[in-house]
Every structure is written in C-alpha cells, then in structure tokens.
Symmetry: C2
Subunit: 401 residues, 2 copies
Amino acid sequence: MSSEIMLPAGFRAAGICCGIKPSGRPDLALFASDTAAVAAGVFTTNRVCGAPVTISRSRVPSRTARAIIINSGNSNAATGTPGLADARAMTAETAALLGCDEHDVLVCSTGVIGVPLPMARLRQGIPAAADALGASSVHLQQAATAMMTTDTFHKTASREIRNSAGIVRVSGAAKGAAMIAPNMATMLGVILTDACLTPEEADLMLRRGVDRSFNCVSVDGHMSTSDTVLLLANGASGVTLNEAENARLAEAIREVCEELATSIIRDAEGADHFITVDVAGFETRQQAERIAREICESALVKTAVTGADPNWGRIVSAAGYAGVDFEPEHLSLRINGTEVYRSGTPAEFDAADLSRRMRDNRDVHFELTLAGGPCSGSQSARFWTSDLTAEYVRLNSEYTT
Amino acid sequence: MSSEIMLPAGFRAAGICCGIKPSGRPDLALFASDTAAVAAGVFTTNRVCGAPVTISRSRVPSRTARAIIINSGNSNAATGTPGLADARAMTAETAALLGCDEHDVLVCSTGVIGVPLPMARLRQGIPAAADALGASSVHLQQAATAMMTTDTFHKTASREIRNSAGIVRVSGAAKGAAMIAPNMATMLGVILTDACLTPEEADLMLRRGVDRSFNCVSVDGHMSTSDTVLLLANGASGVTLNEAENARLAEAIREVCEELATSIIRDAEGADHFITVDVAGFETRQQAERIAREICESALVKTAVTGADPNWGRIVSAAGYAGVDFEPEHLSLRINGTEVYRSGTPAEFDAADLSRRMRDNRDVHFELTLAGGPCSGSQSARFWTSDLTAEYVRLNSEYTT
C-alpha cells in the first residue's frame, strides 16, 4: 500500500547502500527539492544530542533549504568536535552536488553512538545517492527504507488537498523509536509538501502536528539523543490555498505525522499489542496528556496487556500518580468498550471474555474518563504505546557494546 | 542474620495466618507498644489510594498510638465507602483487645485490589494475633513474614545507640514494592524505636529517613496506591539523648530505612542485578535526584545491565532527558570503577572485561559525575534499582484479573 505513496511536486528522493551498516542494507537517504524550499524542524530536547541535531537545529527555520541527507547505521552522537565537522561535511558534499549552499542542506544520522562516521564511505555514497534521485513512489520508498535501523517495514504516509487550481500534496517518511543493538536508535521523520508556506507557517504547522502525533507515542519512555522531524515546503504545486484550505493543510500535516508515529508503535520491538489510550474529562489538555503518558510508560500496564489481562487497577493507579488532581470517585475506565471501573469502584464485567478479546485482537483501547467533581472539564488527549514483552527484553539485553 | 534482630523495649509483635491468602501463608501482622507511643507516617501520593491509607493518614502525627495492624493478601483499595468502614473496623477490633481508643491504632493492607476485605476472617484473626504477641526476635520475624506478598524473604533491620544511661534501639520491618498477580502489591515499612521523641521530631526524622531511602528506590516506577511507612516511638528505653545522640538517632532511623529499602530492591521480581546509581557534581540535590531517577527508570538501562552490557550511551542519554541543565562535555561516567565516558566523549576501556565483571557480580555501580561548567556544583544523590529481565515480564504478564 505504502509503495503507492507519491512525492509532492518538485521533490526527488533516493535510498542507497553506502556500506555503513555491516549488513549491507540501505543506509543513505537523500530528499531534495528542485527549488529553494521553506524548512522547519523539531528536535530532541535531550541535553546529550547528536552532532546532526546541533547542525540542523541551527539551520531552521529557513527559506532556502534544498535537501535533507540522512544516514542510518551510525548516529554521529557523542563524537565531540570531529563529529560536528563530519555532520557539516555531509551537508557540504550534498550541497556541492546540488549546486547550493551547505547551509541549505539539513542532516540526520541514526545508529550506533560514540563511533566516528565512516566519512570515506559517505564521500562515495553521497554522489551515488544524488545520481539515484528520482520522483517516483519507488524512490520515496527506497529513501524511507534507507532510514531504517531495526524497523521491520518502511514507513510512509500521504494526504492531498484539492481545489479548483489543482492538488497540494503532503508526504512523509519515518523510522522507528525502538532502541536496540548496537546502541540506541532514533525516531526520524521527514515531511515534504508542495504547498507554499512562510517559514512561520511551516514552523507552526510542524510543531502542532508533531505535538499531537510523535509527542504522543511512547515505546519505553527513553528519549533518544537524535530524535528529529523536518518539514520542507517548496510551493511547487503552484496552488494558492485560502484560509480554510490552509487549515486543512495543517490538519493534513498532522495526519501524516500521526500515521507515521502510529506506524512506529505498530513496529515497536517485540510488541504484540498496539495500545490506544484516550483520557477525557479534564480541565486542561496538559492534565489529560500527563495521565495518558504515565499509563503508556507503566511497565505494569504494558505487561498486563501482554498477558491479555484487563487489569484496571494498574491503569487507574498509573493515572493516580501522574501529578494531576482529581477525585477517584468520578473516574471510570473502559477497555475495548467494556466498562471495568465505574465512578471509583470495580464494575462487574466478564473478565474471561474481555481477556479473550484482548488476546485475539492486536489493538487494545483504554478510555479513561473523569465525569463530575471540581477537577473535571472538557479536555482530552490520545496517546499510543505498545505492550512490553519478553522479546523486548531479549532484544535489548543482548550484549552490544 | 535478620532473625537476630530484636524489638525495641516495650514493643511486641505477632504474625499469623488468618486465611486471607489462598496459599494459607501468614497474612496478618500486629505491632503493639505496651504504652502510648508517638506516631508518624509517610504515605503514597497517589490520587487513587487504599482505604487504610486514608484512615492511617488521618491519625498521624499522634502522641497516643498503641498499635499497627497489617494484613497482606488484600489491599482494601478501590473498595469505596464499605472499604473505609472495614479499615476502621480493623482498628476498632485491635483497639478493643489492647484496651485503647480505635484512633490509637494504625492500619495497612496490601494485596489484591477492588475486592472487599474478608472481615469475618479478620474478626477471628485479630484476636489470634493479639494472643500471639511477644517481644522476641522471632515474633518480629513472624510479623515481617506476615506482611509479605511476593517477597521471597522477610525484611528486617536494626540499629542501636548507646550512652551511659543505656541503649536506644531502632528496628524495622518492610515488604516489597514489586508488583504482581493478582494485582498490585505495595511497599510497606514499620519502624519502631524505644527512644523518646516529640511528634514533631518523629515526623521530621521519619520524613528525612524515607526521603533518602524508600524515596530513592525504583523497581518499575509504578507508584502503588498503598505505599506507607509508619514510625512508632514509645520512649520505653528510658534513655535521654543529648543533641548529638539525637542526630545519631535520626541517622539510625535513616539507616534502617535504607537497609529495608535496598532489601526490597535485592528482592525485586525477576531481578538478576542490584544497581546503585551515584550522581554527583550538580548544583542541587534535586537535580542529582532527577537524573538518578531517570537512569533507574529507563527500561533500556535496565535491560543493558541484564545483558551485562556496559552500554554508557543509554545511561548518559537517560541523564540528558531528566530536564536538568548541564553541558555534556563536562559529564563523565564510571561503571564498576571503570571510566567508560570522559568529558562528553567515549573513553577507551576493555569492554569484554567490564562485561565479564558485570556478569559475574550481582552488584553494579554507576557513578555519573559533572565536573566543571556553569551548571556544576557539590550536590549528589544515590538511588537504587534492579535490572529488567524476561522473568519480570513473565511474572507481570500472567493472566491475573
């Protein structure tokens, strides 16, 4: 299905093997705009961040971006001053081939940390990637594949907005947040659109989109040193959007982010279940988010789902320690549609039947609702996570250093 | 060794089977002071708390406490108004037997949640526990055993302070924080001393002790609805302490709390390794604590230790997302004495040798130090945790509801 996903107008992509990964799998992706594009970025807030984050962060927002160069297999993190020089060199090599300034190229790296980038291979690989650039859906797929580390499938998504003047397209690619040998991996996302945006609009639309998607997923609560989502908007559609259509564009960007972010959770290491957590009835969205996040990050909640156990006590108690005021007697919980906890006390339900449905269905849905009391309100949040399996432990405890 | 641990003067204890646990194991503990004692308590901050927490919290600090009644096998949490009546009834039954007011009895429960207490069994069991009260080390051990849920050994600790007038003793018992079928368990601690304290002194010494012990351990970051540590001080030693000796008493209370808290970690479900995390060189203790806690709660750090992997990247990156300002170039890390990360870059070390030492030694020690830069200072924090094994997942994912 995702092989049908098209690039927006005026973009080309490539994914090739340049020999960074010992496996010989694709490890170098290039996204390029034929003309100067507006660029925005959202980056990890980790104090310990990779060199590419430092470089790319300093280059957005921008009006003149032309490309994003991404390698997998080596994160160029904890590599000191030489790492910064290597990240800069990757952008300079790319810029020379595309005929632009190195400041118009953004860079991401993901993979092993604390190891210098194999620059000789990259210096051979970057021209090969530039040669391989193409505008077809296969090129986008190859670029998405070259971003992967432990992902088991490539992740792309797309939306269109049509009006009488034509089509505006938003397409994206991402790789997973799960972490594994030989060290940590990273969540990377690239969003491309042929809409015409100001740097301020691009920045705002990307931040809002990421805030309701990539910031609402958690595999293990461990924030990587390299998490990055970049947006390029090149205006090549030639379509002018009115205010309502611009709002639809913002929503399309959010939807592409959400589809990519939830794909990452569906591909989480060792996961058997995909868990959607809806928290509703609080005074502020922040309160609902804090509770949803605690539920998503509780090892006890996640192992209960692994065991198909409708263990409402773990879910409700995780809500209780999120640092949000509420009266438990107004709290209720549904699991896959079945009420298991009503107004602060256990509800009667067929536990064996619900467990069977949790076991037979890969998707699990929690709906936690506050109704009544001085702390209740109309705000809600949706988060996504995966369960925690023995396979996750096995994958992450194998000797790697 | 812990069977040698004596009760302080004027205290008696008992642990019996009253039939709450299907296994028939001991499930009712009673700690009693022969005379009115000062009482203090520290309780879970979970918004969803058990009925015994509500009752005990309302009764401390106090000058007239006489006893603590504790059942395991049922937490009396999420049981609504009837649960509050049951918790009160447990204290009233105990008070009637000891000849005191029900407000002078504190209560704790741990075990399955959302199930009414079997009060008929407790009404038979409480008199049996009162009959079994005794002042020997065996009685303390039996009481500690009756508090256990999934603990594999009972946990007691003791310290003495001697001066010319005699001996002041601090003894304690605790049960584990690990959580398991049929629902969540709880961390409970009881600290008894024959020192003479005001309620204000008792409250302060207990809070300080808990703050540097029970609040510095994490198995899975999931705060229970019933966590409680209680202190009774009955003055029965008859010994007056001077200011320096009173400071030693405070330290003795902290040491007993630390020994009990670390015993809980050593007994964590499925754990292969005991991990001590020292964070030093920050401006405030709170900053050091936040970093230590993030490291202790990272599933990736814990699984790396499971695999005897000196994976410094996971540890340093967990420090990076703790929300504390620092410059990575001033950060260094030792694992079991070996420097693996120096001033923001990887240090050269024999990874195979360090891994072998991590595999052969149950104790793992991280020392993360900030030295230099505008964010550094003289404050430190020590936390303790366990590794995360496939056995933990197995224990917590078995069908339980």
